[in-house]
C-alpha cells in the first residue's frame, strides 16, 4: 500500500478475499500501481486491499471511491481503461460497473477506505455507524423490514427454516450449534404456545458486540426475531438483556414501540395473518444467565440456575413450552440471509463456519474496537492487519478468545483461522467474541487466576464441580501467584480442571477450567517458574517481585522519599540500596525513578 501523507482523491479497493485472490487480485494490484504511476496519480490515490467483499461470483472485484463504483470480473487488460476514464476523467466505466446491492455494502461506502474497517466484512454490524439507531425511518431506508416482508409475502415457515439451514449459520453465542437445525427442532414441536428469545445477556468481561449491535441497529434484531417467530410458529418474543446496558435498553424499547406503531410488530403484521410481539426482560447481573436454561429461569423470575438438558429449550423451554433462543448477533444475521440469500451467505467463511464473526478486540493492541471478519480470517490478520499490532514496541504474548470460557493462544497459533473447529482444536473457543490481546507484560498464571476468579464469582453454586472445584482451583492459583505453590499443584489443577469440564452441569462450569487448562498447555513453563523458582517472568505477581537498584543510579534520592516503608537508603549522589527484607514490592520507587535505574525482576 502506498503511504499517504495527504488525503487521497480516490480510493481504490481491491477485494483480497480467497476467491478474488485466486482470481489473481495480486496481479491486478501490480497493474493498477503501474498504471497509476504512469499517469502520475500514485500519490493521490489510495490503494486498499480489503477482506472478502462477498461478491465472489463476480470476482475479481475493484471498488472505486468516492461514488462506490463496483467493477466486477476485472481483468488486467481492463485496468488502463478504469484508471484513464474513472480516475483521470472522473467518468465511471459503465461497461465494467456492476450493480450489487448487498446489505453490507453501505457500510463500505462510508468506511471502506480506512484499513481498520476495510479489512472487515460487516453483516451483523452492517448498519452500526451509518444510521440513526433511534430512527425507524433510517432503518426502513436501508431496506429495513424488507426481509420480514419478503418472508411474509413469499415464503412458508418451512422455506424460511430451509433457507437458514442452507446458510450454514451457526449460533454466535459461543457453542456454534447450527441455527437452522435449532429452528427446525423448535418448529417440529407441537404445543399450544411457543416462544422466541433473544439472548442479550452479554456477560463476558471484555465483550460488547451485542451492546453495540442493539445500540447501533436495534431494529435488525427485532426483524430477525419476528422472522424466527414466523418460522417456528411463535407469537411472543422476549429480549433478555443486561440491566447494565441502559442505553441499549432504551433504544430497544423505543425501536419496539416504533415498530409496533408502524404495524411491524403486534397483530397482523404488515396486513398478513401473522402476529408477533416482543417484550424486554432485564437481567440483573448474573453471567450464568447467558446459559439458556438459566436464562429461561431468570425470565420466569427465578434464580438463574441452569437445569440438566434434555429436555432442551426447543422441547421444553420458557414455561415448559418449546422455545427458540438465539443471541443478538445470530438474530442480526437473519435479515441478511433472507434478503441476500443463503447461497450468497455460504460464499463467506470456511467450509463449516459460514458468514462472519464479530469480535471485541481489546487489551494490548493498537486499535481496540469491534471487528467483524469473515470466518477463516487468521488471528494474525485480526491482531496485526486490523488491530495494528502491539503498542509500545512490546512483544505479543498471547491472545485470549472466548472470554472466561475460552483459552489463551501463544504466538505459534497466530495463523489459526477463526472458526469454531480451528479455535477449539487450538485449545480455545470461539465464544461470544471477546478477543483480548496480551503482551509480554502479562503473566499467564495471573490471567488464568483472573478468569477463574470471574467464573468462581459467577458460579451459580448449584453443581458441586463448579461450586467447590473452581474454588479449589482458584486457591491453588492464588497460592502459586503468591509464591507458595508446591510440587504437585499443576497436576491437581489438571485433575480438577478435567473433572470440572467433564462433570459440570452447564456450559459455564464445563468451560470454567479452560483458561487454566489452556495456559497450562501453552505456558506450562511459566507455571513451573512460579512454583519452583518463585519467579514471575512477566513481572506482575507482586509477591514474587523484587526491586533492585542498578549502577544507573545517580543518587537523586527520589526513590528513598517515595518508599512508604523506608526500605531504601543511600547517601546523596551515591548509589542507593533497597533493603529486600523491608521492601513490600509496592513499586513506587520503580515508578518514580527518572533514570530507569531500578530493576524489577
Amino acid at each position: 500500500m502506498n503511504a499517504m501523507n495527504t488525503l487521497p482523491k480516490y480510493i481504490v479497493t481491491l477485494c483480497d478475499g480467497p476467491t478474488c485472490m485466486h482470481q489473481r487480485s495480486k496481479t491486478l494490484k501490480a497493474v493498477i500501481e503501474e498504471e497509476l504511476k504512469k499517469r502520475g496519480l500514485y500519490e493521490t490515490t489510495s490503494l486498499v486491499l480489503s477482506g472478502c467483499l462477498g461478491m465472489c461470483n463476480k470476482s475479481p472485484i475493484v471498488i472505486v471511491n468516492p461514488g462506490y463504483t463496483i467493477y466486477g470480473g476485472v481483468s488486467p487488460e481492463d485496468i488502463p481503461e478504469i484508471v484513464e476514464e474513472h480516475l483521470v476523467k472522473g467518468k465511471p466505466v459503465a461497461r465494467l460497473a456492476i450493480e450489487e446491492d448487498y446489505l453490507y455494502n453501505r457500510f463500505y461506502r462510508v468506511f471502506g477506505d480506512v484499513a481498520f474497517f476495510g479489512q472487515q466484512m460487516r453483516i451483523a454490524l452492517r448498519n452500526c455507524g451509518i444510521m440513526d439507531p433511534e430512527s425507524l425511518d433510517d432503518y426502513l431506508s436501508l431496506r429495513g423490514y424488507e426481509a420480514l416482508a419478503k418472508v411474509l409475502t413469499d415464503m412458508s415457515p418451512a422455506q424460511v427454516i430451509s433457507e437458514v439451514k442452507k446458510s450454514g449459520l451457526r449460533g454466535r453465542g459461543g457453542a456454534g450449534f447450527l441455527t437452522g437445525l435449532k429452528w427446525e427442532n423448535t418448529a417440529r414441536q407441537k404445543s399450544d404456545e411457543k416462544f422466541v428469545i433473544c439472548n442479550a445477556d452479554e456477560g463476558d468481561p471484555g465483550a460488547f458486540m451485542d451492546r453495540s449491535t442493539i445500540e447501533g441497529d436495534p431494529h435488525t434484531v427485532i426483524e430477525g426475531m419476528i422472522i424466527g417467530g414466523y418460522a417456528i410458529g411463535a407469537h411472543r418474543g422476549f429480549v433478555y438483556i443486561r440491566a447494565e446496558y441502559p442505553l441499549a435498553i432504551r433504544r430497544l424499547r423505543k425501536a419496539i414501540d416504533e415498530a409496533r406503531r408502524e404495524g411491524l410488530l403486534g397483530t397482523t403484521i404488515l396486513d398478513s395473518a401473522f402476529s408477533f410481539d416482543i417484550e424486554i426482560k432485564l437481567g440483573a447481573g448474573a453471567f450464568v444467565c447467558g446459559e439458556e436454561t438459566a436464562l429461561i429461569h431468570s425470565i420466569e423470575g427465578r434464580r438463574g440456575m441452569p437445569r440438566p438438558r434434555p429436555p432442551y429449550p426447543s422441547q421444553k423451554g420458557l414455561w415448559g413450552r418449546p422455545t427458540l433462543i438465539n443471541n443478538v448477533e445470530t438474530w442480526a444475521n437473519i435479515p441478511v440471509i433472507v434478503l441476500d440469500g443463503a447461497d450468497w451467505f455460504t460464499t463467506i467463511g470456511t467450509e463449516k463456519s459460514k458468514g462472519t464473526k464479530v469480535f471485541a478486540l481489546a487489551g494490548n493492541v493498537q486499535n481496540t474496537g469491534l471487528v467483524e471478519v469473515p470466518m477463516g480470517t487468521t488471528l494474525r490478520e485480526i491482531i496485526y492487519d486490523i488491530g495494528g499490532g502491539i503498542p509500545d514496541n512490546k512483544k505479543f504474548k498471547a491472545v485470549q478468545t472466548g472470554g472466561p470460557s475460552g483459552g489463551c493462544l501463544p504466538e505459534q497459533y497466530l495463523d489459526t483461522r477463526v472458526d469454531y473447529e480451528s479455535l477449539q482444536a487450538a485449545g480455545s473457543i470461539m465464544g461470544s467474541g471477546g478477543m483480548i490481546v496480551m503482551d509480554e507484560g502479562v503473566c499467564m498464571v495471573n490471567i488464568a487466576k483472573f478468569f477463574l476468579e470471574f467464573t468462581q464469582n459467577e458460579s451459580c453454586g448449584k453443581c458441586t464441580p463448579c461450586r467447590e472445584g473452581t474454588k479449589r482451583m482458584l486457591e491453588i492459583l492464588q497460592r502459586i501467584t503468591k509464591g507458595e505453590g508446591i510440587e504437585g499443584d499443576i497436576e491437581k489443577l489438571e485433575r480438577l480442571g478435567t473433572m470440572i469440564s467433564k462433570a459440570s452441569l452447564c456450559g459455564l462450569g464445563q468451560s470454567a477450567p479452560n483458561p487454566v487448562l489452556s495456559t497450562l498447555r501453552h505456558f506450562r513453563a511459566e507455571y513451573e517458574e512460579h512454583i519452583k523458582n518463585k519467579r514471575c517472568p512477566a513481572g506482575t505477581c507482586v509477591d514474587l517481585l523484587s526491586y533492585t537498584i542498578t549502577d544507573g543510579c545517580v543518587g537523586c534520592g527520589l526513590c528513598r522519599k517515595k518508599c512508604p516503608v523506608g526500605a531504601i537508603s543511600g547517601e546523596p549522589k551515591q548509589r542507593h540500596v533497597i533493603d529486600q527484607a523491608a521492601c513490600i514490592n509496592c513499586g513506587q520507587c520503580y515508578a518514580a525513578c527518572k533514570f530507569n535505574a531500578i530493576q524489577k525482576s
Binding site: N457, C460, C463, P465, E468, K471, A503, Q510
Partner: protein, 590 residues
C-alpha cells in the same frame, strides 16, 4: 404400551423400558449408581453430579438421574476415569464439610459418610477454605446448620414441592450459596411449620431436631419430680427401625417397658388422648352440623397443620375444631385429673411426650395450651431422640420384656392407634360420631375410602339418611387443593382431616432416619408403618373411642360429658392468625 429398548451397561446388553432415565433403567436391572441430590419424590436437580456415568459418544459425563435412555445406548458406570471423577466430586463436598463425624448427630447414619466411604476416599487432595456460618438455633423444633449443608437442595425442594410452605430457599450464589429462610431471619421468624420433613430428607445433619434429651435425662434423675411419659401411636410403629428392625413391626409394650426402665414414674399413652379427642371432636362435629356451626369442620391434631393454617389461611380458622391435640389433651388430664387422683401438686409433674413429630415441640410451648398457669407438656422428644436415649441408657430394646401402659391414662382403643395414619382421625371420628348420632353401632368400621396414600381422599357416610361428606388430606402441599374446594363449594364437605406430614404422623419429622437400604419418605416404609398401626387396631378389644372404659370413667369422675364447661376449659383451645403471613403457592416455585 411400554416399548422395550436395548441398552448396554458396561458392555452387557439389557432390555429396559423406554422413556426412563438412565438411573431408573439401571436401578431396574441390578445396579445402583451412587447418588446424592436425587430423590424419587422430588424434582430432578442434577446438582451433585455424583450419579454421573459415561455414555458412548458424549463428550462429557452424563448425570444419570436426568438423562433419558435410548435404544442402543452404551453406558459405562465404572471406568477408571469416571470412578476418579466421582470420587473427586465427593471429596470436594467433604472438603467443604466439617470433619466432625465422631461428634455429629448423624454419625453412622449419614448419607454423605456412607457415600464417602463407598467412594474409597482415604486421603484428601483438595482441602481449602471451608464455609463458616452460625447455626440457627432459634426454632424450638428444627436446628439449621449451614456448615453441614452440602447444597443438595432436597430440603428446599421438599419445602416447596411437597409441603408448599416455602420457608426455605437458596440465598446468595456460587461458593457462598446457603439454604436459609427469607431475609436470613431466624428460622423461628419464618413461615416454617416445624413439620421437620427437611430433617428427614437431609442427607447430613444440616437439619436436625432441637434435641431435648439432656433436659429429659436431668428430669428423669430428679427424684422430686413425678415423671410421666406419653407415647404417640406412630412412635411404636417406627421405633424398631432405629434399632435395625425392618419397618412394619409395632413395639407397643416394649416402648412402655423401655420408658419405665428409663425412669418414668408413669407411662401413659397418647392414644388415650386420641380417644378423648374423638369424644370431644365427634361431639363438636355433631354440634356443628346440628346447630348451624361453621362447616366443614377441620381437624386440629397436627401441629404443623395448625401453624400452617394460622399463617396461610387465617380466614379459615373458624372451620378448625377447637379440640386440642391428643398430646395436649393427655397432658392436661395428667396435670389435673391425674394429679388430683394421686394428690400431687401439678407443678411437681413433668410430662414428657414421645412423639414422631418435631412440630409437637412447638405445640408444647404454645402459651394458650397452658393449664392452670403451667405448661401442659414439659418436654417433647422425637422417636429418634428416645431411641437414642434408650440406647444411651444401656437398655437392650430388642430383648426387652413388654409391659403395659399405666392406668388410668394408658388404656386406648384401636381408634386411638390409627390416629397415626392419614385418615385415621377421620375413621376414628366416624366410628364414634355415627354411634353418637344414630344411636346404632357402626358395623363395618374400616373405612377404606379414606385409607391409603393418595394426597386427597374423599368419602361419604350415611348417618340416619343424612349424607356426611368427608375428605382426608396429608402433606401440606395438598392443603390448598382442598381449601380451594372449600372456598368454591362451601357445602361440598362436612368434615375434613388434615395432617401436615405425608402419610400422617407415621411419616412425621421425628421418625427414624431412612436406613441404608431405603430413602427418606419411602412410601413402602410408610405403608408398613401404617400396617403396623392397623394391626394394633385389629387386635384391640375396643376399637371405638367411646368404648374405652377409662375414657368413660374420666367423663364420669371428672369432665362430666363431652363439651362440658370443664372440657372446654381443659381440652379445647383457640387459634390466632400468625405473622409472617404465609404465601399460598398453587404451583411449585423453587
Amino acid at each position: 404400551m411400554k416399548q422395550m429398548i436395548t441398552i448396554y451397561v458396561n458392555d452387557k446388553a439389557y432390555q429396559v423400558e423406554s422413556g426412563q432415565t438412565i438411573m431408573q433403567a439401571t436401578d431396574g436391572i441390578g445396579f445402583r449408581i451412587p447418588r446424592l441430590c436425587y430423590h424419587p419424590k422430588l424434582s430432578i436437580e442434577g446438582a451433585c453430579r455424583v450419579c454421573i456415568v459415561e455414555v458412548e459418544g458424549a463428550r462429557n459425563y452424563i448425570a444419570s438421574c436426568s438423562y433419558p435412555v435410548n435404544d442402543g445406548m452404551r453406558i459405562y458406570t465404572n471406568t477408571v476415569p469416571l470412578r476418579r471423577a466421582r470420587r473427586d466430586i465427593v471429596e470436594l463436598i467433604l472438603d467443604n464439610h466439617p470433619d466432625d463425624c465422631h461428634t455429629c448427630e448423624r454419625d453412622g447414619i449419614c448419607e454423605l459418610q456412607r457415600l464417602a466411604y463407598s467412594m474409597g476416599i482415604r486421603r484428601r487432595h483438595f482441602e481449602g477454605e471451608k464455609k463458616n456460618y452460625e447455626k440457627d438455633l432459634s426454632s424450638i423444633s428444627v436446628i439449621r446448620d449451614p456448615n453441614k449443608c452440602i447444597l443438595c437442595g432436597r430440603c428446599v425442594r421438599l419445602c416447596s414441592e411437597v409441603q408448599h410452605v416455602n420457608a426455605l430457599g437458596y440465598a446468595n450464589r456460587g461458593f457462598q450459596t446457603v439454604v436459609m429462610s427469607a431475609y436470613d431471619r431466624p428460622f423461628s421468624e419464618s413461615v416454617c411449620t416445624n413439620c421437620g420433613q427437611c430433617i428427614n430428607v437431609c442427607p447430613t445433619a444440616a437439619f436436625v431436631e432441637k434435641n431435648y434429651t439432656q433436659e429429659l435425662f436431668d428430669k428423669l434423675n430428679d427424684s422430686s419430680v413425678i415423671k410421666i411419659a406419653q407415647v404417640a401411636p406412630s412412635v411404636r410403629a417406627a421405633i424398631g427401625e432405629a434399632f435395625g428392625i425392618p419397618p412394619g413391626q409395632a413395639f407397643e409394650r416394649e416402648v412402655a417397658a423401655a420408658l419405665k426402665k428409663l425412669g418414668f414414674t408413669y407411662v401413659f399413652d397418647t392414644q388415650f388422648g386420641a380417644d378423648l379427642t374423638i369424644m370431644e371432636e365427634a361431639s363438636e362435629f355433631l354440634e356443628r352440623i346440628q346447630g348451624n356451626g361453621v362447616l366443614p369442620m377441620v381437624t386440629s391434631c397436627s401441629s404443623a397443620w395448625m401453624k400452617y393454617v394460622e399463617q396461610f389461611y387465617p380466614d379459615l380458622l373458624p372451620n378448625v375444631s377447637t379440640c386440642k391435640s391428643p398430646m395436649s389433651m393427655l397432658s392436661a388430664m395428667a396435670k389435673t385429673y391425674f394429679a388430683e387422683k394421686i394428690k400431687i401438686d401439678p407443678a411437681k409433674i413433668c410430662v414428657a411426650a414421645i412423639m414422631c413429630c418435631t412440630a409437637k415441640k412447638y405445640e408444647a410451648a404454645r402459651p394458650e395450651l397452658m393449664v392452670n398457669g403451667l405448661p401442659a407438656t414439659d418436654i417433647v422428644v422425637t422417636t429418634r431422640e428416645i431411641a437414642w436415649m434408650i440406647r444411651s441408657a444401656g437398655i437392650d430394646f430388642l430383648h426387652i420384656e413388654g409391659e403395659d401402659f399405666d392406668a388410668p391414662l394408658g388404656l386406648s382403643s384401636g381408634a386411638g392407634a390409627i390416629f397415626g395414619v392419614t385418615g385415621g382421625v377421620m375413621e376414628a371420628a366416624i366410628r364414634t360420631a355415627y354411634e353418637l348420632y344414630t344411636g346404632e353401632t357402626l358395623i363395618d368400621i374400616e373405612v377404606n375410602a379414606i385409607r391409603g396414600f393418595q394426597g386427597i381422599k374423599e368419602g361419604k357416610v350415611l348417618m340416619d339418611g343424612k349424607e356426611i361428606r368427608v375428605a382426608v388430606v396429608h402433606g401440606l402441599g395438598h392443603v390448598y387443593q382442598i381449601l380451594d374446594m372449600v372456598r368454591n363449594e362451601p357445602g361440598r364437605f362436612h368434615f375434613i382431616e388434615i395432617m401436615g406430614c405425608p402419610g400422617g404422623c407415621i411419616g412425621g419429622g421425628g421418625q427414624p432416619y431412612a436406613g441404608s437400604n431405603s430413602v427418606p419418605l419411602d412410601e413402602e416404609v410408610l405403608q408398613k408403618r401404617a400396617q403396623a398401626l392397623y394391626g394394633l387396631d385389629r387386635e384391640r378389644t375396643f376399637r371405638r373411642s367411646h368404648e374405652n372404659p377409662h375414657v368413660q370413667k374420666l367423663y364420669k369422675e371428672f369432665l362430666g360429658r363431652p363439651l362440658s364447661s370443664l372440657s372446654h376449659k381443659l381440652l379445647h383451645t383457640h387459634y390466632t392468625p400468625k405473622e409472617p403471613r404465609g404465601i399460598i403457592t398453587r404451583e411449585q416455585t423453587a
